[in-house]
Amino acid sequence: MEQLLAIWVEPLSLEQPDGSTLRDTLALFDALDALCPFTEAVRLGLYVLPLRAPSRFLGGDDAVLRAVRQVVLDVVGVSPKLGVAEGLFCAELAAHRELVVPLGASDAFRRAQPLDVLGRKDLTTTCQRLGLYTLGAFADLEPARVAERFNKHALMLHRVARGELAELEDQRDVRLAQRLARLRGESGLFEEQSGFFGQRGAADDRAEAAAHRVRRRLGPQAVAVASLRGGRSPEDRATLVPWGSPVANVRDAAPWPGQLAAPSPATTLAHPVPLQLRDDANRPVMLSARGALSGEPAHVLFSSPLRREIVWYAGPWPLVERWWSRRRRRAHLQLVLTTGEALLAVAESSRWWLVGIYD
């Protein structure tokens, strides 16, 4: 996985009412961006950039750290906390502790962290009662056990703890980039998104006003827009982002090798649900390292005691891809149940998950 340099600038993390925080955030972003064009403003006070390219350019990791520290001192007048690790989650932790985690050691670093770094007090308390004190101990729980005991959100945290996800769901402020763009006087992204043949009509204005009304009623995350990006499976190719946040609206026109063929499931679960497959003798059906099934799936079991009979299945279609830098092995399976429903399941880390419903 790629090494990231996280830059934590404490004074910029709390927004002042006079708007100075956002102006300074933009000034620092521009200065860092000049140093490394892949700099991201993750949220107020936190920036991140991939270490490899500037390191090669400036002659070593230490040279990058020195240059970044100087830039922050020049622009904001305070010394930042810097940290290096693989993945945004670990990189931010490293920054708070001012550590450079060497390449390949991020797994061990993450596993040694106390549970409260996940930011969920209830989860920490429950796990401590179970005698689990570190992310590593939590990560070793079976996903199905986590699903039984906690909610969907905890499943995502569990995937972060296992290193399957590189960042927490709420680690990024998706609105920040748009606010910076607006401050810079660039046109809002919504205009770009909604323009029909490059023109913006009264209908677009009406839709925008309606979206604003719903947001006022239900909160800033309530309205979302969708776009497609590259990827092989429907759950990877779909992005639903809060309306008004920056989105690379790239239509996925080019063929993507090994893409799961149409038709795609009309429901794609944002939080996959764990399930089990059993054969006729009620033995679990697993996926071998070679991508073969250990038996014929005859029943599907959900974690709620719900059992359904399978009348037909197709697959598995294995996907081996690089996800960050770790090889990620997955396989999809289409199932049709006696009730007439068709499902898309995926095997990952020797578990089955429901990812789509052909509704």
Binding site: Q193, S194, F196, A203, D204, R206, A207, E208, A209, A210, A211, R213, V214, R217, L218, A222, V223, A224, V225, A226, S227, L228, P234, R237, A238, T239, L240, W243, N249, A261, A262, P263, S264, P265, A266, T267, T268, L269, A270, W312, A314, G315, Q334, V336, L337, T339, G340, E341, A342, G356, I357, Y358, D359
Partner: protein
């Protein structure tokens, strides 16, 4: 200024009764707006099944299907053509929309607003959106009350929007609608993968609408689109 007010009143008070138009002339009169702009276009398989070949503005459409029987795909296929031709669509209460499938059905994602989890306020969110978009597809999170349904349908008529309400048979839309699509049978055709789903759909409506035609429509086909059989 007061004299003007007075003169208006005066005018109305003493205006002669309007001359009645002859029946021949009445028959030749048309509303000012063209029929074309009063309906929203439908995708090919539905065009032949619906009077006028499109969704009349101000009408409410119900889509009813048991869980997993393609109700969502069907409802999306109803908005696909209008979306492709530049109309705005809002999708309310569909928790985890399959974006790829929606695009495959022909919807232009650049003009779709999603309100995935309206947290019990689906009716209010839909009402807000009815003012701003051309079609609202809503999946109520609970059984729809008469009052909420009535208010939404009145709003739809007033704004000239189209409301598509997606439900299961046990939580069906409580009021008669202008057009309804009921899935009575769903059958997958598969080779080495899922190829196509044949939906038997009962299309019915009121007024000039058809009196219950049952047709088989493919939603989705091998390319993810809706298709006539």
């Amino acid at each position: 200024m007061t004299t003007i007010g007075y003169s208006y009143e005066h005018m109305f008070a003493f205006s002669p009764p309007r001359p009645s138009l002859s029946p021949e002339l009445l028959a030749r009169l048309r509303p000012v707006s063209l029929a074309k702009s009063r309906t929203l276009p439908l995708d090919e398989p539905w065009r032949a099944l619906v009077p006028g070949g499109g969704l009349r503005r101000g009408s409410t459409v119900a889509v009813e299907a048991p869980v997993g029987w393609g109700g969502l795909s069907l409802a999306i296929s109803l908005v696909a053509e209008a979306s492709a031709q530049g109309h705005w669509v809002a999708v309310v209460g569909v928790d985890d929309p399959g974006i790829v499938a929606i695009a495959e059905l022909g919807v232009d994602l650049r003009r779709v607003l999603f309100v995935p989890r309206p947290r019990g306020a689906w009716a209010e969110a839909s009402a807000d959106l009815l003012d701003g978009v051309d079609l609202v597809l809503v999946r109520p999170s609970s059984r729809t009350g008469f009052g909420a349904a009535r208010r939404l349908m009145d709003r739809v008529r007033e704004r000239g929007t189209v409301l598509i309400a997606l439900s299961e048979p046990r939580t069906a839309w409580p009021l008669p609608v202008d057009l309804s699509f009921r899935v009575t049978r769903a059958e997958w055709v598969a080779s080495t993968r899922l190829d196509a789903r044949y939906l038997t759909v009962l299309v019915s409506g009121r007024g000039e609408a058809v009196r219950g035609v049952e047709r088989v429509v493919v939603v989705p086909n091998r390319r993810g689109r809706a298709e006539a059989t």
